[in-house]
C-alpha cells in the first residue's frame, strides 16, 4: 500500500522550474531515498509535503487522503515528521524541550487549563515525557537532555534533529540529508538508526541524501532527480549503474 503518493508535482520560483512533473510513490514500511545534484528539487519536494510551499500543479496523497493544500500545521497530526537540511532546532531551548514540542499534536488541553496546571495537564506532561524519554534512550541523548541547543556541537544537533522528528511517533519520517556534516563514524551511527527505525519502530522513511554508501546501505528504492524531473527509479544497484544518472552526476 502506498503510504505517500506524489503525482505530477510542479512548482516554480521566480521563473525557474524547480519541479516539472514529478511522480513517485513510497510504500508503507520501506526506506525510499531521493538523490540528485544540488538544485535538482529534492528539498522542494519535502517542502511541498510539509506544506511550506504550494505546488502549481499535481497532487500529494498521504495514507489515501489528499494533503496537497492542507494547512501546514495539520501535517504533523497526520503522522508526518521531518528534519531540515540546515537544522531548524529551537536554539534557546533544551534538548528535552525540543523533543517535547514534537508531542504537540497530542495536546488535548487548552490555554486556561494550562494556566491553572490542572491534573489533566500534569498527566499529559508526564505522558509526553515518557514518550520523549524513549527516544532519548534510543538515540543515547540522555547526557545532553538539559543542555541548550546553542551549546551543542553540530554532530549532536543532527542527532537531536532526528530525535525531535522521532518523538512525534510518525508514520512517515522525512530526513533531509541526514549525513551532511557528519564524519564516517557518525554516518555509520545514522545508518544503524535508520535501519532500526524501519525494522524496530516500523516507520516508513523518505530520505534525501548525497552519500552514496549510506544510500546503498539503507535504501529499498532510490529515485534520481535532475533539474526538477525524474531521471530514474529502482533499487540502489540499478540506479548506481543507470547511464542517465551517471551523466547527471559526473557530467560525462
Amino acid at each position: 500500500m502506498a503510504l505517500l503518493a506524489a503525482t505530477a508535482l510542479a512548482v516554480s520560483f521566480g521563473g525557474i522550474r524547480a519541479l516539472d512533473g514529478v511522480d513517485f510513490t513510497v510504500e508503507d514500511g520501506e526506506v525510499f531515498t531521493i538523490i540528485g545534484p544540488n538544485g535538482a528539487g529534492k528539498t522542494t519536494i519535502f517542502n511541498l509535503i510539509s506544506r511550506i510551499y504550494d505546488p502549481e500543479g499535481g497532487r500529494i496523497e498521504f495514507a489515501g487522503a489528499e494533503i496537497t493544500r492542507l494547512a501546514p500545521h495539520r501535517i504533523a497530526g497526520l503522522g508526518v515528521a521531518r528534519t531540515f537540511q540546515n537544522i531548524e532546532l529551537f536554539e534557546t531551548a533544551s534538548v528535552l524541550d525540543n523533543l517535547m514540542l514534537a508531542r504537540h499534536p497530542h495536546r488535548r488541553t487548552g490555554t486556561l487549563a494550562e494556566m491553572l496546571f490542572t491534573p489533566k495537564v500534569q498527566r499529559q506532561e508526564i505522558a509526553m515525557r515518557e514518550a520523549v524519554e524513549r527516544v532519548i534512550d534510543f538515540l543515547e541523548l540522555a547526557h545532553h537532555r538539559d543542555t541548550r541547543i546553542a551549546e551543542l556541537p553540530y554532530g549532536v544537533r543532527k542527532v537531536v534533529e532526528l530525535g525531535r522528528a522521532l518523538a512525534a511517533e510518525p508514520r512517515l519520517l522525512l530526513l533531509d540529508e541526514p549525513s551532511s556534516g557528519l564524519n564516517v563514524e557518525e554516518t555509520q551511527d545514522m545508518a544503524f538508526w535508520i535501519k532500526d527505525i524501519q525494522s524496530g519502530l516500523g516507520i516508513t522513511v523518505l530520505i534525501i541524501e548525497h552519500d552514496m554508501r549510506l544510500v546503498a546501505a539503507v535504501s529499498d528504492r532510490v529515485l534520481a532527480l535532475n533539474n526538477g524531473r525524474v531521471l530514474a527509479e529502482g533499487d540502489p544497484a540499478e540506479i548506481q549503474q543507470h547511464p542517465e544518472v551517471i551523466r547527471a552526476y559526473l557530467g560525462g
Binding site: 510539509s50 511550506i52 494547512a71 501546514p72 500545521h73 495539520r74 501535517i75 504533523a76 497530526g77 515528521a81 521531518r82 531540515f84 531548524e88 532546532l89 529551537f90 536554539e91 534557546t92 531551548a93 524541550d97 517535547m100 514540542l101 514534537a102 508531542r103 504537540h104 499534536p105 495536546r107 488541553t109 490555554t111 494550562e114 494556566m115 491553572l116 496546571f117 495537564v121 500534569q122 499529559q124 506532561e125 508526564i126 509526553m128 515525557r129 515518557e130 524519554e133 546553542a150 525531535r164 512525534a168
Partner: protein, 353 residues
C-alpha cells in the same frame, strides 16, 4: 535527587529554592511592618509594573513578537476600570472586565499582525498605540478626553481598599497569581509552542504548532495581563488621562523586559524593580550633584537611555542574566567557566536571530 518525571514538573525543583522563596515571601508579607506608606506605594508600583512586565515578557520575550504599543493595553484596563466603577460597579467586576477588554483588544491587534513579521509588526503596534491614545483623547463622552477621569478607592467585594497596606496586598496577590499563571504556561505545551514560534516558525509549524493560534493567544494573554496592571494603575494614581499612556510608557515596558532579562519571568520583576528604583537613585544623585546639573529636567530619561544602552552592550541577558551567572558561579565554584554564557553571533544578513 529526582525520582520521577513529576518531580521535574514541580514548582521548586531544588530544595534550596523553597528556603529562598519562603524567606522572600515572609519578607514581602511583612512589608507593611518594615516600611512606611511611601515605601509601600513604591512596592505597589513594582507589582503593577511587574504584572505588565510578565504580560509583555510572554509576548515579546517568549513568543518573540516585539510590541512597542503596550501602553494601549494598560490604558484599556485603566479606562475600563474607571468607567465601570463610575457606574458603581465593584472592583471584583471591574478587574476581570479590564482584563477582558484589554485581552480582546490584544486579539484584535494580534489577528492582522499575523501577516506581519519582525520590525513591521513592531511598528504596527506603535501605530496602533498612537491611534488608541488619540481615540482616548477625542472620545470625550466616554473618557473625559484630556480632562481625564478620577477614581475613588477600589472596593473589593465591599471591602474598601483605602490604605497603602491594603492596596499593596492586593497588588502583591495579583502579582503572585500572574507569576503562577506565567510559570504554568511555560511548563505546559503552550509555553513550549511560544518559544518554538520565536526560535523557528518553520520548524514549529512542521511539528504541528498552529502559528495563528499561538500568536493570537500570546497577544490576548499579554494584553489581558497588562490590562490587569492597568486596573491597579488607575487606582494607584486615582486620576487617569491619555497623557499617562504615551509611547514613553510603552518604551518603559520594553525597558523592563530587556533590562530585566528577555526570556525569563523573573526578569519582569527585576526589570520592574529597576524601573522604579532608578528614578529614586536619580533623586539621590540630584542632591549630591552641583546645583547646575541637579536642577536639570530629563535626568531620569537620560539615565534610562544610558542604562538601556549599557545593558545591551555589556549585559544582554539583563539583570536576570547577571543573577543567573552569579548563581551558576556559586554552584559550580571553583570549576566555573567564563565562556558558559557567551552568546553565539550571526553575521550574515537575513540570518535572523
Amino acid at each position: 535527587m529526582k525520582t520521577s518525571y513529576a518531580h521535574d514538573l514541580r514548582l521548586f525543583r531544588h530544595r534550596g529554592d523553597v528556603v529562598w522563596y519562603g524567606a522572600l515571601g515572609l519578607i514581602l508579607l511583612a512589608a507593611p511592618l518594615l516600611t512606611d506608606d511611601y515605601g509601600l506605594a513604591q512596592l505597589s508600583f513594582v507589582c503593577i509594573y511587574a504584572i505588565a512586565g510578565v504580560g509583555l515578557m510572554l509576548l515579546s520575550g517568549f513568543t518573540g513578537l516585539i510590541s512597542l504599543g503596550h501602553a494601549a493595553f494598560l490604558a484599556a484596563g485603566a479606562y475600563t476600570t474607571a468607567i465601570l466603577e463610575q457606574q458603581g460597579l465593584d472592583f471584583a467586576i471591574a478587574l476581570p472586565a479590564a482584563a477582558l477588554v484589554a485581552g480582546l483588544l490584544g486579539v484584535m491587534v494580534g489577528l492582522p499582525a499575523l501577516r506581519l513579521s519582525g520590525i513591521y509588526l513592531t511598528i504596527a503596534t506603535l501605530a496602533f498605540a498612537f491611534i488608541v491614545e488619540e481615540v482616548l483623547t477625542r472620545w470625550k463622552g466616554l473618557t473625559g478626553g484630556n480632562a481625564g477621569m478620577l477614581l475613588d478607592d477600589a472596593s473589593l467585594l465591599g471591602l474598601a481598599i483605602d490604605s497603602e497596606p491594603r492596596f499593596y496586598y492586593l497588588a502583591l496577590g495579583l502579582l503572585v497569581l500572574t507569576m503562577l499563571a506565567g510559570i504554568n504556561i511555560l511548563r505546559a505545551p503552550l509555553g513550549r509552542a511560544m518559544i518554538a514560534v520565536r526560535d523557528s516558525e518553520t520548524a514549529a509549524q512542521a511539528m504541528g504548532v498552529n502559528l495563528a493560534m499561538v500568536k493570537t493567544t500570546a497577544f490576548g494573554l499579554s494584553a489581558a495581563l497588562t490590562g490587569i496592571a492597568g486596573a491597579l494603575y488607575a487606582h494607584k494614581l486615582t486620576y487617569i488621562s491619555p497623557e499617562q499612556f504615551t509611547i514613553f510608557v510603552s518604551i518603559e515596558f520594553l525597558l523592563i523586559v530587556i533590562i530585566g532579562g528577555l526570556g525569563s519571568l523573573h526578569g519582569a520583576v527585576f526589570g520592574a524593580i529597576f524601573v522604579i528604583v532608578l528614578p529614586q537613585l536619580v533623586l539621590i544623585a540630584r542632591e549630591l550633584l552641583p546645583a547646575a546639573i541637579a536642577g536639570l529636567p530629563g535626568l531620569e530619561a537620560a539615565a534610562f537611555g544610558l542604562a538601556l544602552i549599557l545593558f545591551i552592550l555589556f549585559e544582554p541577558m539583563g539583570l536576570y542574566g547577571m543573577w543567573a551567572k552569579l548563581r551558576h558561579y556559586g554552584r559550580t565554584f571553583p570549576v566555573y567557566k567564563k565562556a558558559t554564557f557567551r552568546r553565539t553571533k550571526s553575521f550574515l544578513k537575513g540570518e535572523g536571530g
